[in-house]
């Protein structure tokens, strides 16, 4: 049994995630980390935007806030500054966090408020039916790119690093062991920590691009402990000899770490206890 099961709102089940969706794995890793760290989630707030990823906060028995599309970080910033003693974790998606909410993301990184943002990156808008996202790779098919995507995808980690985030990492659903470790590191970090977690949308993105079932997608992501394959630049020449789509390698793990005072420290907010380090 997942040690985090006691932290779930069983009465909110069944959840809305599709069979094969990678989001459940990411959520599960988050819940296991929370279970390891906290006996109760009284002092933990989970703040989310809109989309499949953002729905997962409701299933966790914490102070949970399911906000508007793209704006979770602004709610989280206000909450954290009003209650600096709370642990605030933001759950967002690639459309939510990088599309409609991109402005809030870069400014949250710039402010260096002591909160953790976990971005579930499945390269598409899942909740609305598989449309083009700012993370969709060039040439990929979505319901709004029937002739292939003409645009280039965001590298979320480079974006938030440039904006001033003090902890930036990439993880993937297929390696929950590594993911858990990175979530722990992000929570330990003093300042704005950001995790770009690659997951997959089996229902739309995979079907549109004939990428196979959830398990195929998960295997397609993996290469090693330090790298992840995602960038489908060879599109639409999808098939490698082993039957998995060709994806370029992207680095995984901690990509950037720096140390500067958090906004709470600079504002000298009472109740804020900076972590070590």
């Amino acid at each position: 049994m997942n040690p985090g099961k006691a932290l779930l709102r069983q009465d909110m089940m069944p959840h809305i995630l599709c069979p094969g969706c990678g989001h459940g794995i990411v959520m599960s890793a988050l819940v296991r980390v929370l279970a390891k760290r906290y006996a109760s989630l009284d002092q933990v707030a989970l703040v989310a935007g809109i989309g499949c990823s953002s729905r997962v906060v409701g299933y966790i028995d914490a102070n949970t806030l399911h906000t508007t599309h793209g704006r979770a970080l602004s709610f989280a910033t206000g909450l954290k500054l009003a209650r600096p003693e709370l642990t605030v974790i933001v759950v967002t998606g690639d459309g939510d966090g990088l599309g409609i909410g991109g402005n809030h993301l870069i400014h949250a990184a710039r402010r260096n408020v002591d909160l953790t943002c976990i971005l579930f990156n499945n390269e598409t808008y899942g909740m609305t039916g598989g449309q083009l996202a700012p993370t969709t790779v060039t040439q990929a098919f979505t319901t709004t790119t029937p002739y292939g995507n003409h645009e280039s995808a965001f590298d979320a980690t480079a974006l938030v690093t440039a904006a001033g985030a003090t902890f930036v990492a990439r993880a993937q659903a297929y390696r929950p062991d590594l993911l858990e470790g990175l979530i722990e590191q992000a929570l330990d970090h003093r300042g704005f920590s950001f995790l770009d977690v690659l997951t997959d949308c089996t229902e739309y993105f995979s079907r549109k691009n004939q990428l196979g079932a959830g398990s195929d997608l998960l295997f397609s992501q993996t290469r090693s402990d330090t790298e992840i394959s995602l960038d489908l630049t060879e599109w639409p020449r999808l098939q490698e000899p082993d039957g998995f789509p060709v994806r370029n390698l992207m680095p995984m793990g901690v990509l950037h770490e720096s140390n500067r005072p958090t906004l709470e420290e600079v504002m000298e907010l009472p109740g804020y206890r900076p972590k070590e380090g």
């Binding site: 709102r9 009465d11 909110m12 109760s40 989630l41 009284d42 002092q43 707030a45 703040v47 409701g58 028995d61 914490a62 102070n63 949970t64 806030l65 399911h66 906000t67 508007t68 793209g70 704006r71 970080l73 602004s74 709610f75 989280a76 910033t77 206000g78 909450l79 954290k80 500054l81 009003a82 209650r83 003693e85 709370l86 402005n103 809030h104 400014h107 504002m267 907010l269 009472p270």
Partner: protein, 382 residues
Amino acid sequence: MATELVSGNEACARGAMAAGCNFFGGYPISPSSEVAEALARLLPKNGGVFLQMEDEMGSLGSVLGASLGGAKAMTATSGPGFTLMQEHLGYATLAEIPCVVVDVMRVGPSTGVPTAPSQGDVMQARWGSHGDRAVIVLAPASVQEIYEMTIIAFNLAERLRTPVVLIYDEVLAHMRERVELLVPHQEDLWRRPKPSVPPGPGYRPYLANEEGVAPLPNFGDGYRFHVTGLMHDERGYPTTQAKAVSQLMSRLKNKMEPVTEWILPESYRLEDADLAFVAYGITARVAKEAVDRLRDAGILAGLFRPRLLWPVPVTDFQKLLGHAGIAVVAEMNQGQWVEVVERLAPRSMQVLGQGKLGGEPMTTEELMNVAETLMQKGARVL
């Protein structure tokens, strides 16, 4: 108590401080910026948080997050910024998060005339956010009233767990006049109701009290509840069940009802009036002067000044104004609240909308001319 010469925007900030506001999230925009500037000065000195956000969506987002953490939170904006806040106003209504939003009205649409007054946001304040929504919109007409109504806005927001909008125009925002900065008694500052049950399975975050308001603990108090902009049941869990949705919507509307009994309109020389001006904000001051001067000239004029634009003070309107033959609804727009008056007016009443655009307030002479012309026509049916 201190008597000072202050501007409307400064009075708003001072009122917020007197109400116990301890969080402001905002974005600069003319002609509201002085509210933010004053609170940037006052809040940190008094243990509060001032935060300049990246845009107006973020501003109100931060306010709602802070409010859930237990803060008395507000933002201030103008026309285009108010438009950008509509999404979060709807969210705050449905998720029932107390907050105060100040909208200083300027000439629109679009960028319009950023530095000139209008009263063009009255309908936006009512219907700006999508979906059906009950709202509270207060309209002060003096710097003194801006101060007092900012305190009232916090009281209503807290007690009824809802966003409260305070709207006034650029002239009121920037004009300075004498204000008595009365410090309210602590017991006159209302706070959101708190749950009477301890945390645990018996606690239902959206179970309403006898006022139709669900008690609201702070995030971090141990109640661990869920807040969402989806329709939800008493547990706060998302629901699509028609019955639960309609019950929730009815409760959100019904809980606003007492507000019309709490915030009464101003009635000025209406008892025997043949012609009644209906005006709010700066225009009401001008209309009041026109009433006196018209009476000096032998025309029985009066003024009905709603201090609460939404919900509409229906009973007071009919009680105070029902007998007047003519209602002149004066507002700095192309006709917004006049639609309310047309709906409420008895058949015997002639309703005329007197709008003014261009960024200059109405003048006493203009209103007197309108009244005199109407009375000469013998519009009074008696």
